[in-house]
Every structure is written in C-alpha cells, then in structure tokens.
Amino acid sequence: MRPVTSLAVLLVSATALAAEESGTPADGERVLAAEEARGHLAIEVREPVAAPPRVFSGGTVLTAAGDRLEPGYIVVHEGRITAVGEGSPPTVEGAEQVSLKGRFLTPGLIDTHSHLGVYPSPGDAVSHQDGNEMTAPTTPGVWAEHSVWPQDPGFEYAVAGGITTLQILPGSANLVGGRGVVMRPLPARGSRAMRFDGAPETVKMACGENPIRVYGGKKQAPSTRMGNLRGQRSAFLEAENYVAKWRQYAAKHRAWEEALASPKRKVRDDAGTEPKPPKRDLDMETLALILDGQVLPQVHCYQSDDMLSMLQLAAEFGFSIRSFHHAVEAYKIADILAEQQVSASVWPEWWGFKLEAHDAVPENAAILTAAGGTAIIHSDSPTTIQRLNQEAAKAYTSGRAAGIELTEDQALRWITYNPAWALGIHEETGSLEVGKRADLVVWDQHPLSVYARAEAVYIEGAQVYEAGGTVPWSDFSLGTEVSP
C-alpha cells in the first residue's frame, strides 16, 4: 500500500503549528477534521448507569480469547472487566455476587451487519424505509445514524438474544452508500445517544448486482459491473483532488500565518488576506477519511471476482477494506483474504435468492478460518439477530462435519472478537479480558445450542436485559403485551 499522509494529522498539525508560532487561534480550525467533528455534537447524553462491582462465578466462562474456564469467574468494576480466572473468585468488597451455576458466560455478541432502525419493524411501514438513499449511486455523505428510528422494537429483541453491539448500515443500492454507525441496543430518544462511545466511523460500499439493479433499471449508471467500478474509481479520484485542495489550503494558510508573524514589516504587509478554505463537501469528506484510514470500509460483495475487483480498487487508492459483507464466495479466495487481512462477514447458509448468491456453501466461515482468515457471522436480519449464537453454531457444525478442525472458542469469536475487529473496537470489547468493557451475556445453557436463552445481558457492567421482563422499551410496542 502506498503511504498516505494523514489528512487530518496534516491539517491539524498545520493548525497547531500556526497556533504555537503565532499564538493566535488560527483559522486552521476550519480544517477538515474539525469540520467532521461538528457533525458529532451530542444533544442527548447517555447517562452512565450506576452499577455495583459484580462477581460472576460458579459456572462455565467462555472467553472468546482462547479459554474455557470451568468453573470460571470474572469481576466487573466501573464498567470494565477487572479479573478473569478459573476456580474461586477473589473477594471483592461490596460486590454483588452473580451465580453462574449451570450457566455459561460469554462476551456480548456483536453483529457487523444490521439494518435495525433504518429498516425498522414493522417492516411494511412505508414511512420508515430509510436505509437506501436511492437518488444517486454514490452518496458517501449520508449517515445511517440520521435514519435510525430508536423506537424500532428490534433493538430490544436483539438484546434479548445477547447482542450488545451492532453496526447499522445503509442498504446496498449504492456504490458508496454512506456512513454506518456502531451502536449499543439501548433505549434512547435519539440515535446519537445509542452510539458505541469511541468507535471509529464506518462506511458502506457495494459491488455486484444491487447497484446495477437499482440504477441500470432506471437507465442510469451503473448498469454493469464495469460501470460499478468506473463509479467507484471516479469517486475516489475526485476525493484525491479534494484532499489535494485541502492540503494546498493548509499550506497557504500556514504561509500566511508565518508571514503575519514575520519580524519583517514588508513581509507582514504583503501577507495579503487570509486564504479561504475550499468549499466543504460531505460526500468528499467521507471519501477523504476513507483514504486517510479513519473510516473503516464495509463492503457488500458476494462473488469472489467482485471482491477481487474491490481489493484492486482499494490498492489503487491506498485504503484497506475492513470487512466484506455477505461474501458468500469468501471460501474461494480464503487465502487472499487471509493474506490481505480483510475479514468476511457471512451468513451460515443463505443462498439462491439471486445469481451472485448461487455458490454459497455452509462451510464458508469454517474454510476462511482454516485458511487463517477472519470470519464473522452476521445477521442482516431482524429475526436472526435475535439468535446469532445459533447462526454461529450452524456454521461451526457444518465446518466440523466437513472435517475442518474448529474449536468452540473460534466459533464464538465469529460473533464476538472478530466482529469487534471489523468495527475497530476489538481493544474495547469482543472478549472476556482484563481491561475491556464488561459486555456480557449469561446463558442458561451452552450458547451453541438451539435451546439456549440469554438470561441476562450487561453493557459496560450495567444490566440491560433480564429474561422474563414484560415492559417493552419501545414506545411503539406499548400495549401489545395486553391480550384482549
């Protein structure tokens, strides 16, 4: 990959330098990174839920970090895991004791591919079809966050299935469909308060049949796979020009500030007016941040040849794809995906609904894992997100039946650590390790079973779900528990 100077770093350092040297607030505040930050102001703030220290012990702890601790324990304090081990837990003063007797503890499950909130339930609500901005094939400037309806009952059903983090993506109508958002399935009045605190920005891109079907059907570009690539390459070329303009601006601004600060009067007098920043463009801004590695690309792609085209695009413009989504033919290029360190978010066995989904095999995740790649089981469904553990179990079973050696820890990683990696939050969540956020699920039996139920779910140490609760979070669901 060719080296790319970090745009944000470049611009911010110009600002810092100017501020340092001139001692005045530089106009460098109007650099790209700062402009981006303006879109992230929070109006509704999520209050941290006060929770006592907790000690979970006496059952099986599956860490998704290589260990099955039996009996195992973990200690949680101030939202973080402070101890993990086997045998008797340490004494923690004032801690609430949670018995895992006969139960299983795992990290909270993570789904890299959901449209909850942007295509919410009820699915037939025409007023809430907010997931695809199908007015142009390239819309990097839209944010899924702005479409998420927090009252979607699907969020609380997801938590009941053990989900603690999910990526909400725009649909796949567009070549670049817009920003995704990494969220917590928590009750909130607006989507901003559901954001996973500190998660990187993500973007949805798509290849193959869908953009062709949507735009080709309207006699617009793209109407072919080659049209798809032209659309994406053109967009990134434009983004390179956009980056160049901001670089020029930053350089001119720095020169101007240096001139103003010059001890020579003539230089100060000739400094001229302050250089004006380029016109801000939201679409270009997202693409520029992809080029800069700050926005993690999540690419909808089914066929191996299409995935290879997208890897070529990424190489041409010097960015890294973080995860291919659906990737039903990932197994055909498992060696390349492993070598390129690109993960694949796959279903266990969906296939046949269109030609690019014709060559699916249920061993897809297992083969990619065996080849040394990063496999993820995703849902893309308001129904299967409620049982992602079963989805992983099916893929695990298919792999083992085909003679592929897999551990239950690897299968668990498909729905915990690996998706955390794809979303750039693997140092914060996705496994039971000291220092990580306490995102936990207590299961009544082994989670790789059709009969397993999440009994309790914790996000950052706060209990967010308990089996048997009857009052829905969603305003929309109020009243539906009452049978006439």
């Binding site: 009820p122 009952p153 296939w351 046949g352 609904f353 129904t383």
Partner: protein, 421 residues
C-alpha cells in the same frame, strides 16, 4: 463418521440399529428399524430378532431379516426420524429467486385466478435446490405456486430426483390463495363471489359452457372455475396466509360459511384464536422465529405462538424463513419452538407426521410397520443446530449425501490444501 454401514451387496433390506427412533408413540431408545424394499418392515426390534453376525473383534458385521442378509447401519447415539416434509416451499420450481429464467414459482401473469395452474408441471427434479435440501434431511416438499389471488394447485414432490412423473407424489393436494393485500374485506368479498360462481358453474356446467350462465367474478376462466370445484366442496383444502388475529377470525367465519377446508399459513397472531382453530380443526403453518412487529399485522405475535397453539390442540407445522433454498432448516424452527415451550415430541411430529396428514400423503411421515421407507439418521437431536443429517433414505434407497454445495466445497477446499487425507 462415528457410524458405519456394511451394505450387503445385493441386500434389499437394511437394518438400522441402536438409534433413538422417533415413532408416532414417541421416541424408542436403542431399538432397531428394518427397511425392506421401499417399506419400513420392522420397528422396535431387539438384537435377538435380527440374528446379528459378529466379526472377530465382536463388532457387528451383518444382520438378517426373515432369513435374508441385510445391510447394517450402526446408529448408536444417533436419532432416526421420518423424512422431513417442507411446507409452502418452491423447491424444484425456484432455483434462483431473481432470475426469471430460473424461477418458475410465479407466472407473473395479470390473471388473478389461476386455479387450473398445476405447479407440478414446472417441477424440475434436477434442480440443485433439491440436493441441498435432501442432504439436510428433507425427503418431501409441499410445492406451492405464487402470485395472483388464487395461485394454483399445490403439489407434493419426492426429493429423490428421477423424472417429473416419479418425483410428483400428488399434483394437487391443495389450492393456494392470497387474500386482501390491500383490503382484507375486499379480499373476502372476492372469495365469496368466486365461490358463488364456482357453485353456479358446478350446478349448471352446460349452461356455463353454452354462455347462458354468466359469472360475476372477472378474471376466472372456465378451467379455473372447474379446478375450484373440489375446493368449494371442501374436498381439497385452501391454503391462505393471514397473520392478524382479526383477519384470521374473519377468514374462519367466511370459510366456515362457505364450507371450505382451510389451512392457515403465517398465523403470527393465531394464538389469540387457538381454541377456535383447534375446534375448527384448522392446521397452521407458523414461522416460529418471528416475534412481534415484523409487520403491522404481527404486533401481537410472540415466540410462544406455536406452544400456545399446540397446547390448545391445533395441528402446527413450521415454515422455514427461506422455505425453498434452505427449507431443510425447518427443523431448527421446530427447535426454537421447543425453546419456547412446545414439547419435543410434538415438534418432531410437526416436521413429518402432521404435514403428511394435512396434505394427504398416505403412508408417509411416520416410522411404523408398513410405512414408506423415507427416513433420516441424524448425528444427534434432530432439532439441534449442532446436529447434521448423517444419512437419508427415500423409498428404502440410501441416497448419496452429495449436493452442488458439497461439490463446490470439496473443489475449493482441495485447491486451498485444506482437504484431510
């Protein structure tokens, strides 16, 4: 594989020994089943009944049934069920959903009433969708046409390939209808009108043929009206999808009034009418994984829907989310229903016995003496996500556990150097 088979070279019979056998009376542990020709001839036999032959290492090398040597399958720790029957699928008629040239499930004609359409005539016994489902444990599929108001005649296909004639067990087991996509009341009005026309035509066919009798429902041809005669007589069931309890209630009223035999599809809120459905003997095909609010008509849906229906005595079947390409996953829907309160044995019945009864597939769906030898040996609990089908028999034939997907898998695993010696 932890089980093995010693296929006696020319044995017509097969002994499957030691499995948990799921019979209509419940599971039998550690007993044997004998298949002979295309029938099940022995159920619940002990080792002594089968004159086992032991090798030098005391392993079983053969068995005899009525003096004849049989193939022998050690099913220890495994489960044996009747072949699973998919309901409301398009197996054999929809190969690739979005490719018109590879999807014959819905003719997409403007014709609203296509009662004379027999989906069996579109059934392709060589579709790759069949093998994928067969190695997943399905031996039969109820194949439905799609689209229109009356979509056409539902068939039952046997998933063992052959010719169309060999595969189709029955070309007309039920009629499929779609009611009230825009207005439930208007849909039921149209149903009443259509039924009245069919009755009039049935009473005076020559009058209709000669043009003296006019019908009121527009869009039904003479053949379509004739094809509906067994439906209005209550001889052939009408399969209708409805989810909202109030719509199911009205549908029950109207089908009762018209004397139609109803099979309900969907039924997300059916539990609210569980007793009435049981009393009316209306079977329901549910999607057990769905919950409230998938649609406006499912807001009172619950994972406990199936459990409440079964408890009330309703015949429940499960519909897979992808009821064509992955129809075999129906067993996991049954497993999820057990997770939400359905007794395990009832859930197993729902996968074979109940659909065989509802769709008149006589001699199928049960492991009992005299029944067709359509059975599946599972590596464990058939409803579990960690279980796979180890072997499938249809008509007593042990079928290769190969599909287009296993061929793809093997080719690419070999290329990647992942194939075990």
């Amino acid at each position: 594989m932890i089980w093995w088979m010693l296929a006696a070279a020319h044995a017509a019979c097969t002994v499957i020994s030691g499995a948990v056998v799921h019979t209509p009376q419940g599971p039998l542990e550690g007993r044997s089943v004998v298949l002979d020709g295309d029938r099940i001839v022995g159920v619940g036999l002990g080792m002594a009944d089968l004159k086992l032959q032991l090798g030098s290492d005391q392993s079983v090398t053969g068995a005899t049934w009525k003096g004849a040597p049989c193939g022998f399958v050690q099913g220890g720790g495994h489960h044996l069920t009747p072949g699973l029957i998919a309901v409301d699928s398009a197996i054999g008629v929809n190969e690739i959903g979005m490719e018109n040239a590879a999807n014959d499930a819905d003719p997409k004609t403007p014709d609203p009433v296509r009662a004379a359409l027999r989906i069996a005539e579109a059934y392709d016994p060589r579709s790759p969708v069949i093998g994928v489902n067969r190695i997943g444990g399905l031996t039969h599929a109820v194949v439905s046409p799609g689209g229109g108001f009356v979509s056409g005649q539902i068939a039952v296909a046997k998933l063992s390939g052959g010719s169309q004639a060999e595969a189709i067990e029955n070309a007309s087991v039920a009629m499929r209808a779609h009611i009230g996509t825009n207005s439930w009341a208007e849909g039921l009005r149209q149903l009443r009108e259509l039924v009245a026309d069919v009755r009039a035509v049935a009473a005076n066919p020559s009058g209709y043929r000669s043009g003296q009798l006019r019908t009121t429902y527009e869009g039904a041809s003479a053949l379509d009206l004739e094809a509906l005669v067994p439906v209005v007589r209550g001889e052939v069931p009408l399969v209708v999808s409805a989810n909202r309890a109030s719509e199911i209630e009205a549908l029950l009223d109207v089908t009762d009034e018209l004397g139609l035999r109803l099979v309900l599809l969907g039924g997300a809120e059916a539990w609210l009418l569980a007793n009435r459905l049981a009393e009316a003997k209306v079977p329901v095909m549910v999607q057990s994984m769905r919950r409230r609010a998938n649609g406006f008509d499912e807001r009172w849906g619950t994972h406990e829907n199936a459990a409440r229906l079964v408890a009330a005595g309703v015949d429940v079947m499960y519909q897979a989310s992808f009821s064509t390409h992955n129809a075999h996953l129906v067993r996991h829907h049954a497993g999820n229903a057990v997770r939400s309160g359905v007794p395990h044995a009832e859930a197993v019945r729902s996968l074979s016995e109940v659909p065989a009864e509802v769709f008149g597939l006589e001699g199928h769906g049960r492991i009992e003496v005299g029944a067709m030898a359509d059975v599946v040996l599972w590596t464990g609990d058939p409803l579990e996500v960690t279980t796979t089908a180890a072997q499938v028999w249809i008509d007593g034939r042990q079928l290769p556990m190969v599909s287009r997907q296993t061929l793809l898998r093997d080719r690419h695993m070999e290329r990647l150097g992942l194939t075990k010696e």
